[in-house]
């Protein structure tokens, strides 16, 4: 498989302390990756470094085969930050306008958006099943609807890699399951590589193909039928940690036939 992210010896400092130390791993095209680890372990730091939003102390990052320092295809990377939860609810923006912002990049600066752009916006709204919310203000949406709107924004430029930072915080189990199923659909049908920070370990081991366990160090493992989550998670959460997980639990998750 073709690597989409290659990290070698990555060290990142937040202030005087090392937040990530000598991390090396690879993510292949089409992977559905869960980033887990304790609070303050460096998950968001890792994601921000991968997106070039934090400076590196040492090490290298290659995105789609290109060194991050010279990488210029950011329209191929979609990112949903925690801002999707924290934004100013009074901001006068409709869902369509928000998703339309996903078509803004360095290459089309100063150009008016054309029919093709707005058609891509309609497609992204449809893909995330929120066409009926297009003219609603984003401040008036529920948590789940907001996340889907922000994912639609990040999908509108037809990215190859989608990165999400704790997108299901505060969701009820049904909304969370629906959201994860939509992401799984995007992964299966469009071959989209997805990297998602989540504290829901069951969802990660049931739905995803790779796990990155982050606690200053990064431990990467493929998730297969024979994967024992405990062995991976103890490296991040500590030897005392035990995650009672059995694969048949995955059969009991919420399923909505409408999705």
């Amino acid at each position: 498989m073709e690597p989409i992210i290659e990290v070698e010896g990555l060290t990142v400092k937040r202030g005087p302390t090392e937040a990530l130390s000598n991390a090396s791993f690879m993510i292949e095209r089409g992977d559905y990756v869960g980033v887990v680890g304790p609070n303050g372990g460096g998950k968001t730091t890792l994601v921000l470094a991968l997106l070039g939003l934090l400076p590196r102390e040492s090490g290298s990052i290659r995105i789609m085969g290109q060194d991050i320092d010279t990488f210029d295809q950011w329209e191929k990377v979609g990112y949903v930050s925690q801002f999707a939860i924290d934004f100013d609810a009074q901001f006068p923006l409709t869902v369509r306008e928000l998703v339309g912002l996903g078509r803004v990049n360095r290459k089309n600066m100063g150009r008016f958006r054309n029919k093709e752009d707005w058609s891509a916006v309609s497609d992204a709204l449809e893909l995330m099943n929120i066409s009926d919310l297009a003219n609603k203000r984003i401040g008036a949406l529920s948590g789940g609807q907001r996340q889907r709107a922000f994912v639609a924004k990040s999908l509108v430029s037809d990215p190859q890699l989608l990165v999400l930072d704790e997108p299901v915080t505060g969701f009820d189990p049904v909304t969370q399951e629906r959201f994860f199923m939509q992401l799984a659909n995007l992964n299966n049908k469009k071959g989209l590589t997805i990297l998602i920070i989540s504290h829901d370990l069951a969802a990660v081991f049931c739905r995803m193909s790779r796990v990155l366990c982050v606690n200053k160090e990064v431990h990467s493992a493929a998730i297969t039928e024979t994967t024992v989550p405990d062995e991976i998670l103890k490296k991040g959460y500590g030897e005392h940690f035990h995650f009672a997980f059995h694969r048949h639990h995955c059969q009991g998750v919420f399923v909505d036939e409408r999705l």
Binding site: L51, D72, W74, F83, F87, F91, P92, G102, R106, R137
Partner: protein, 263 residues
């Protein structure tokens, strides 16, 4: 009344200043930088005083000092020298005190200076209107041309940076437009009240809870409405024009806010 040339000039000049102020003002409100206007406008007082002292157009002085103030505030914030409000306070105090020193050195400019502090829209001439129109068109042109980029930066700066938009350069350009807008609006409404012309129309439009585009259009209409109604009412009742413009804008704001809550 509308046959008088000074009224016609005032209405055209006031409307132009109101349109530009409303556009720039809405972005400032959403960036939570409304008080930047007040700080920079007071700093511009120093520039007006320099212009009067050295005998060149005080508006040029106001524009230059406003631009320097905006750049100074941005620099102080970026380098962590001061928080946003402290940086504005420092610049405001420096600019205003510079003006006071110059006035005392020149033994006062009395009437001239008062017209810049409180505005003198009824004295604008054809040249003033032409300058307003040219600079106003330039500002609106920039905002139309870079509408989607400015909206992206205003909504989510980090997200915009990731999308490859040169946030720092765009923010610098926007801040310089803020400085020019403030200098333009001083002639209409004066240093003391310029913040009202830039903030009240946008704040009123936000009460409508519409899309961004609709809010921007509504903000512009409310600004023009306040300026034209204010000028007409002030002439009819022979009271301070800038005061009436601000009171009209505040009245429209209160009416719309109340209507939205009661309707």
């Amino acid at each position: 009344m509308f046959n008088y040339q000074f009224i016609q000039m005032a209405l055209v000049g006031g409307s132009l200043a109101a349109i530009v102020s409303a556009w720039i003002g809405l972005f400032l409100i959403l960036r939570k930088e409304s008080m930047l206007v007040d700080g920079v406008a007071h700093t511009a007082f120093g520039g007006v005083a320099i212009g009067l002292l050295l005998g060149f157009d005080p508006m040029l002085g106001a524009m230059a000092v406003s631009a320097a103030a905006v750049l100074g505030i941005t620099y102080m914030r970026r380098k962590g020298l001061a928080q946003s409000d402290s940086a504005i306070a420092v610049m405001m105090a420096m600019g205003f005190s510079m003006g006071m020193i110059i006035i005392s050195l020149a033994n006062g400019f009395n009437v001239d200076l008062m017209s810049y502090l409180f505005g003198s829209i009824l004295t604008v001439n054809r040249t003033d209107v032409t300058v307003l129109a040219v600079l106003g068109l330039f500002i609106i042109g920039f905002m139309v041309f870079f509408y989607k980029e400015m909206l992206a930066i205003t909504f989510d700066e980090d997200g915009a940076r990731l999308q490859g938009i040169p946030v720092q350069v765009m923010t610098l350009a926007f801040n310089l437009l803020v400085a020019i807008t403030i200098a333009l609006s001083i002639k209409v409404i004066g240093i003391i009240l310029v913040v009202a012309l830039m903030v009240l129309p946008g704040l009123t439009a936000l009460q409508l809870r519409r899309s961004f585009k609709a809010t921007l259009i509504a903000s512009t209409l409310f600004g023009v409405m306040a300026a034209t109604l204010g000028i007409v009412l002030s002439v009819l009742f022979s009271v301070s024009t800038s005061g009436v413009i601000v009171f009209t804008a505040a009245g429209i704001f209160l009416f719309v806010a109340a209507y939205q809550r009661l309707a």
